[in-house]
């Protein structure tokens, strides 16, 4: 069961806030985030509106259908983005990694909830504030739109996976896609970090926790991957790629 220690939006006093010590100029994710399209002066303008916000493992950044008061840049850590069915069945729509922007559709309500998988650092903006900046800077909107297009492509890939792949293909494709996403943000390694638990993977892939566990261990025994605590080393990439049937 998930630990819900409350949303930061609803209980702001529970969250560490305040401007980052050194500002946007040496932000770790500046070059991979939406901010990469901003000029130095624009960056300062945005910085004036920013709030630093950190979460601990299990904390909720925002909940599905809540009014979208803020938008966020993920600086460090990972979150899971989920949607619930009334009876409690859960679908993990995706995982947010450093450089990702949460709330990029600028919609009135959040369409998913976002929960920290471990310690997370974010850069928060009031949605209205941010929308005003976007209104004045079409190239920022353009950048958001490009990201939305990328998200759309990712979710199409995920629909193909959920609808038409077998359990083994799903797990293999998941490991490979996670590796690609880490590579995109400059963290390339044969060992893929898996900050989420087995249940999160299952809810992302439309499987049960038992099936995910069985397949991961089968891949391990077959020396296609090497399971390590909190991650998996991809040993036989070409075999995984064949398995994933991409």
């Amino acid at each position: 069961m998930l630990v819900d220690t409350g949303s930061c939006e609803r209980t702001p006093q529970a969250c560490h806030q305040g401007r980052s010590e050194n500002g946007c100029a040496d932000c770790k994710v500046r070059l991979i985030s939406v901010c990469s399209v901003l000029e130095p002066t624009e960056l300062e303008e945005l910085e004036a509106l920013s709030h630093h916000l950190t979460l601990d493992k299990g904390q909720t950044l925002f909940g599905q259908d809540e009014p979208a008061g803020s938008v966020f840049n993920v600086i460090e850590g990972a979150l899971r983005l989920t949607r619930l069915l009334p009876d409690g069945r859960r679908q993990v729509m995706g995982f947010a990694l450093p450089g990702d922007f949460l709330g990029l559709a600028l919609q009135v309500r959040y369409s998913v909830s976002a929960e920290a998988l471990g310690p997370v650092r974010t850069c928060r903006f009031g949605r209205e504030d941010f929308a005003a900046v976007v209104e004045a800077k079409p190239h920022l909107l353009r950048s958001l739109h490009e990201r939305a297009g990328y998200e759309l492509t990712l979710s199409q890939e995920q629909m193909l996976l959920l609808g038409r792949r077998t359990a083994e293909e799903k797990v293999a494709a998941f490991l490979l896609s996670l590796r690609d996403r880490y590579a995109r943000i400059g963290h390339s390694s044969v060992t893929v970090e898996l900050p989420m638990g087995r249940q999160d993977m299952a809810d992302h892939l439309g499987l049960t926790i038992e099936t995910v566990s069985r397949i991961l261990n089968r891949l391990d025994r077959a020396h296609a991957v090497l399971l390590v605590p909190g991650g998996a080393r991809l040993i036989d990439l070409s075999r995984l790629e064949r398995m994933a049937a991409s």
Copy 2:
């Protein structure tokens, strides 16, 4: 099997082109399309760049991974948007209806292929032309971005369906969501048009054609729906809603 009579982009001479007789001013979908945010003078400007294009049933408007030469407003008819796995398994990502804009992410390649489910009329723009207009009109970009957000929400809904719903829930939810989409574009009716075949529904819901057929007929026998050629009358809405488990 699908009839692929060739892409219009590759064989333009096979397509009826030319400006609509009466222009954008009395375009049937103007008020529900992206064009709804344009002023009369802007509309004329866009009209100058537009080409009318029609398709017959089974024709391909564009193919997955092709360079995105054009973007389209759907004026009349319906298309299926699909992605293929190398071995031929197919996922229908969605169905495009009148008022929908194809290519709204303005990406370099199409991420899906689009095939006409029946006679289709579209309004075509060269992607570069359209992008230039968008560049000059931030409120048009804003409108595209809003639509992208809506698409993102739809695809999250679909991921939840594919990953966590049972076959019966999938079919019920599909019928209801189609009804909602028709209502959105001003075509409300208890009888939902089903311009796609059973195989298309199956590939959209992550099921087989036999399962879709069995469930639709079971719903019919249970008087929850009434199957009619090319559509379904939703008899017992509240039962369907309970089934869909939304």
